[in-house]
């Protein structure tokens, strides 16, 4: 397979200015992985700063309601409230290892921005986060948190003012500041080596979950379910189980206002092969290749492309994909809060919503793990009609 590719997906489609930096990052990452001192420190911080391992929690009332055996992998309990911290910490340590003094990041829901700001504060690095103005409005608590953690938040006013535009601005900044700056990309997308690095830093989720489920249930799960925006939390859970052939994996995309409405972010239900942000993957685009504006109630899933490794694993049939609508995600948000006392992020609520649908189609008492990728404090403003 060609370097940087997952089958026909992946690659490095970025301006010449960035190419040497991508090579440097890849070489540094290889050294970082082998460096005992760096890895020991990383492991310590995953325990003491992030709070790993996260629990695998048996959702008793949800299980009873759906006649299934459902566990939640509690990434919502990781420091800063989502799985994003696993990658942010890893890459921040990598940036320091490379001698970079400044990190930049893009953010959609704000969780990656917050995680990056926290890691930067811990390591004493300068931090700038790009966020679409539309996202700033709908994820205000996270904007405040980023600023409290010492990051500069730059509103992005171009394009649709959401995640894809924030990535454009972050890339432009990186092009201009390549010598001092590491671009801390938040999901399993972008040019090689990012999809691999991000997946590597997230696979701790599945590594823990596999050991935990064997311990508590005595067998491997029947189903793994996760929401898919860029693809990092899902790959993080799924990766360790890829060669466990009987474990079925389903990625849940943002169905927005429904596929027919055209207002969604379900790449595998209307997209096709294209290049965005440095990588070849499935992409929502018009007939000429102009990128479409997507919609989802959840900012973190509101993105027109998907990580290349997902496109590849889907092509192999290893991971299946589905979608739920905004409405279904909001219902699941409400249901999980009242059934288990856990308020999920709207992104993660998509995975929960899907399990409600799946439960009716499969035999009873299947062993299911849902990746609860984040908590929903950031979404209270969006869901207020649910409680007012």
């Amino acid at each position: 397979m060609k370097k940087g590719y997952f089958g026909e997906f992946g690659g490095q489609f970025v301006p010449e200015t960035l190419m040497q930096a991508l090579t440097d990052t890849e070489q540094a990452y290889k050294k970082f992985k082998k460096n005992k001192k760096a890895q020991t420190e990383f492991a310590r911080l995953l325990r003491e700063f992030v709070g790993r391992p996260t629990p695998l929690y048996f959702a008793q009332r949800l299980s009873e309601k759906l006649s299934q055996e459902i566990y939640l992998k509690r990434e919502d309990l990781a420091h800063t409230g989502a799985h994003k911290i696993n990658n942010a910490l890893g890459q921040a340590l990598l940036a320091k290892f490379m001698g970079k003094k400044r990190i930049i990041a893009e953010t959609g829901a704000g969780q990656h921005g917050v995680a990056t700001a926290a890691a930067a504060a811990k390591l004493g690095l300068e931090c700038v986060v790009y966020m679409g103005r539309v996202d700033i409005e709908r994820q205000k608590p996270n904007v405040i948190r980023m600023k409290l953690l010492g990051a500069k938040v730059v509103p992005v006013l171009s394009g649709s003012q959401t995640l894809k535009d924030a990535i454009n601005e972050a890339i432009r900044d990186w092009v201009a500041n390549i010598k001092t700056t590491h671009y801390l990309l938040g999901s399993a997308l972008g040019p090689h080596p990012y999809p691999s690095i991000v997946r590597d830093f997230q696979k701790v989720i599945g590594k823990e979950a596999r050991a935990q489920i064997l311990r508590v249930a005595g067998r491997l799960p029947d189903y793994l379910i996760a929401c898919v925006g860029g693809g990092s939390n899902s790959l993080g859970l799924f990766y360790q189980f890829l060669s466990d052939a009987k474990v079925k994996m389903i990625g849940v995309e943002a169905g927005g206002l429904g596929i027919k409405s055209g207002k969604h972010a379900a790449r595998f239900f209307g997209g096709r092969l294209g290049i965005l942000h440095g990588t070849k993957s499935f992409l929502l685009q018009d007939e000429f290749g102009q990128i479409l504006t997507t919609h989802s109630v959840s900012a973190g899933l509101d993105y027109p492309s998907v990580g290349p490794e997902h496109s590849f694993l889907r092509g192999l049939g290893r991971i299946k994909y589905s979608f739920v609508t905004d409405q279904q995600a909001l219902e699941a948000f409400h249901n999980l809060s009242q059934l288990e006392g856990i308020i999920p992020a709207l992104e993660s609520a998509h995975a929960v919503a899907y399990v409600f649908q799946l439960a009716k189609k499969i035999p009873k008492n299947q062993l299911i793990i849902i990746n609860l990728s984040g908590r929903g404090d950031k979404d209270l403003e969006t869901v207020k009609e649910l409680y007012e």
Partner: protein
């Protein structure tokens, strides 16, 4: 070498501008507007948005060039992002480029690592595949780029996106020299060029051509509602022409 976004602010006026500046251009660089131009700064981003909202697309882009060819033989390089090329189909895009009379294609998000098939198709249709060289291009990278590069080298003057700059770094002179030592191809310098002094300096540094984009497009941005916009742009381009500098 002026750069314009095809269809900015609309097809009719854009064509008028092109028509008026062609007599003063050694080469015309034409951008196909894109929804996500990550190599471009705010001026060209806005130009792309204007062109797209007035209906420019790939079909019309080729049509635009065919019309230019009816009135001028000035060499044309199209600047187009990779996704627009692959959606049409690699072979089809270059075939259409040849048919409309395009001489060169520059894909800003296509590094040499990903260019093998593109270069093969370019050769098939006798289109020059233009490559970027920047301050971060190492000796090794330059030698790889030169294996594929045709037409001219587009040397990016600054670390950053397109957009007017006040000055260029001292490294630029050294970069121009390094590239010229390694290739027979002409070297054209672009990004950030704002005035005649800079053009003169760049030619003194060894540039065979100087590309000016954002500075021109800013005029379009400022005066796009004005009736004499094409004339204004023409006046400006004309004032930028320098006589060959004797070294």
């Amino acid at each position: 070498m002026p750069f314009l976004v095809a269809g900015d602010p609309n097809s009719k006026i854009s064509f008028e501008i092109a028509r008026k500046i062609l007599p003063y251009a050694d080469l015309l660089e034409l951008g196909f507007p894109y929804s996500d131009p990550l190599a471009d700064g705010p001026v060209i981003q806005a130009a792309d948005a204007r062109a797209l909202s007035s209906g420019m697309n790939t079909d019309r882009g080729f049509e635009f060039i065919r019309r230019i060819r009816e009135i001028s033989q000035v060499p044309i390089t199209v600047l187009v992002y990779a996704n627009l090329v692959i959606q049409r189909g690699l072979d089809q895009f270059y075939k259409d480029a040849e048919k409309s009379g395009i001489d060169g294609i520059l894909i800003p998000d296509l590094p040499f690592e990903e260019a093998k098939e593109f270069v093969a198709v370019a050769k098939k249709y006798q289109i020059n595949q233009i490559f970027l060289v920047t301050h971060t291009t190492t000796k090794q990278r330059l030698s790889n780029i030169l294996k594929y590069a045709q037409g001219y080298i587009y040397l990016v003057s600054v670390l950053g996106t397109t957009g007017v700059r006040n000055s260029f770094s001292a490294d630029l002179r050294a970069l121009i020299r390094r590239v010229k030592k390694s290739t027979e191809l002409p070297v054209s310098v672009g990004f950030g060029v704002a005035n005649k002094e800079q053009i003169t300096d760049l030619v003194k540094f060894g540039a065979d051509g100087v590309i000016m984009g954002s500075r021109l497009i800013k005029i379009i941005e400022q005066f796009h509602k004005s009736k004499n916009l094409p004339l204004r742009v023409q006046k400006f381009v004309r004032s930028m022409k320098i006589n060959k500098v004797k070294l």
